[in-house]
Amino acid sequence: MVNIAVLVKQVPDTNSKIQISGDRVDLSSVKMDISPYDEFAVENALQHKESGGGTVTAITVGPAGADKVLKGVKALGVDNIVRLDFDGYMDSNGLQSVLAQEISSGGYDVVYCGKSAADTGAGSTGPGIAERLGWGSVSNITDISFDGGLTVTSPTEGGNAIISVNLPAVVSCDKGSTKVRKSNVKGIMMAKKAQVDVKPVTAPASSVTVVSQVMPPAKPAGKKFEGGQSAQTVAQLLRDEANII
């Protein structure tokens, strides 16, 4: 029986427009959703459980609004949902120590997470937690199998490595060939009634402070040409103007 944790995070829907108000991103009218790669982490966690029994606990760090994401994964078949209650900015050191503590006290054997969150794009959380727990980790995996121990496929220079992983370990998940399941009505009804286990956290002092959030500098308008023949002009510009070829 494996005790499995999966880390999920709510982020702005990837279709949403990001706006700045003052010197901060204004998310007040943005629709939030589960970070895309976390869906693959949840799927792999559920498959791990189905391969030999166990429990899956989804953990998020966030404000009450993040319960929606937890209920969403509950509807897919996750057993327990936990929210470490926090609203605001934590640097990677703070976030990872809070999560590592929760993982350690929960007695988990394996932790799944997305390869990066769609808001920061950093991908630091999985490997960072593993280091704090003294565990191994594999990142950006595109395939997984559970027969005879955990085996994953992870990209390496010039191809892929097929790696066997000793537990305990943290596994960060890319899309790869993973097809994710959809929730059904029964699951959704069950999830509605499910209780989120809310736990207070105190973030350690931060050594990184956000100074400002700004729009990316506007790119100067490009040159646009009509017709296939203009490809010749563009090739010449790539040499003379861009100095690339």
Binding site: T14, N15, I18, V25, Y37, S92, N93, Q96, A118, D119, T120, G121, A122, S124, P127, A130, E131, W135, G136, S137, V138, N140, T142, G158, G159, N160, A161, I162, V165, N166, S177, S207, V208, T209, V210, V211, S212, Q213, V214, M215, P216, K219, G222, K223, K224, F225, E226, G227, G228, S230, A231, Q232, V234, A235, Q236, L238, R239, A242, I244, I245
Partner: protein, 310 residues
């Protein structure tokens, strides 16, 4: 002013030119770095000894560097790296390593740095839809995006110190599967040509491959192409749920420019778009746009490149 430590980026066992860009980033943070070359054969570090603006080169020698194991690499590097601001590249593997080293030292990591002003670092957030500026106090680990900082030149001369090191390996590589084609992966390439649904059939990607081979480029794809055609693997997908790339040149062919595709390639230095629809959103991000079908444009592009590169 903090001491800086650059972890050299390696490609096929050699110090890659990205390392010179990391040295520039260290210089912008105000110091000449110690460059650490993780290697199983210390002669690999000789290539780092002529990078300008460097204080010291350490060949961190260990068998663990033969295959990537995050835990062992972090331990082996941590034990030879002095305290300070540690700088890695922002390749997928190096970001993973950066996070590990930071956690090992109980300090923070800032990934994908695209600008440095004093101790203020800029990183893209929300897939590049906004930029976040953060101030770091004390030691940290930072990863730096390729093709952002001007590479430091190779007119220096620094002695190489060899230090034996080791770490505990927790994973075992059972098998390495080389890619069938000799072509680069999108995450490794400096030039990428990608096709979208507008290519019509997966067989038509051969026209992109022909140009890729001339340019030494990788071939990428939109999600619509990957989802529609089994022949186009997910490893080629660029975007929100694919790879984030930062090449010198990105050529988008038959790709509309959906926000999730832009998420993976908008920071490319130069973007060329070929699309038959003059109103396709990709043109708003293209340095050079060609309004035409690829059937008309690609043969012309191919022959023009042949004569330019001849």
């Amino acid at each position: 002013m903090s001491d800086t430590i650059v972890i050299a980026e390696l490609s096929k066992g050699k110090v890659s030119p990205t390392t010179n860009e990391l040295v520039t980033a260290a210089n912008e943070l105000g110091s000449n770095p110690t460059v650490i070359v993780p290697c199983s054969d210390s002669s690999a570090a000789n290539d780092a000894s002529n990078i300008s603006g460097v204080t010291k080169v350490i060949a961190a020698k260990s068998d663990v560097f033969a295959n990537y194991d995050a835990a062992a690499w972090a331990e082996a590097i941590d034990s030879v790296a002095p305290a300070g601001i540690v700088i890695t590249s922002a390749s997928a593997q190096s970001k993973d390593l950066a996070a590990r080293i930071a956690a090992r030292r109980s300090i923070s990591v800032v990934q994908d740095v695209i600008a440095i002003n004093g101790t203020t670092l800029s990183t893209p957030i929300y897939s590049g839809k906004a930029i976040q500026n953060v101030a770091i106090s004390g030691d940290a680990v930072i990863s730096v995006r390729a093709n952002v900082f001007t590479p430091s030149d190779n007119s220096g001369s620094t002695d190489v110190q060899v230090i034996d090191t080791t770490g505990n390996v927790s994973t075992a590589v059972k098998e390495l599967v080389q890619r069938a084609s000799q072509r680069l992966d999108v995450s490794e390439a400096n030039i990428i040509i990608s096709g979208g649904r507008g290519m019509g059939t997966p067989a038509n990607f051969s026209h992109l491959e022909e140009i890729a081979d001339k340019l030494g480029a990788a071939v990428g794809a939109s999600r619509a192409a990957v989802d529609t055609w089994d022949e186009i693997p997910h490893s080629m997908q660029v975007g929100q749920t694919g790879k984030t790339v930062n090449p010198n040149l990105y050529i988008a062919v038959g790709i509309s420019g959906a926000i999730q595709h832009l998420a993976g390639m908008r920071s490319s230095k130069y973007i060329v778009a070929i699309n038959k629809d003059a109103d396709a959103p990709i043109f708003q991000h293209a340095d050079y746009g060609i309004v035409a079908t690829w059937e008309e444009a690609l043969p012309v592009l191919s022959s023009s490149l042949s004569s330019l590169l001849a």
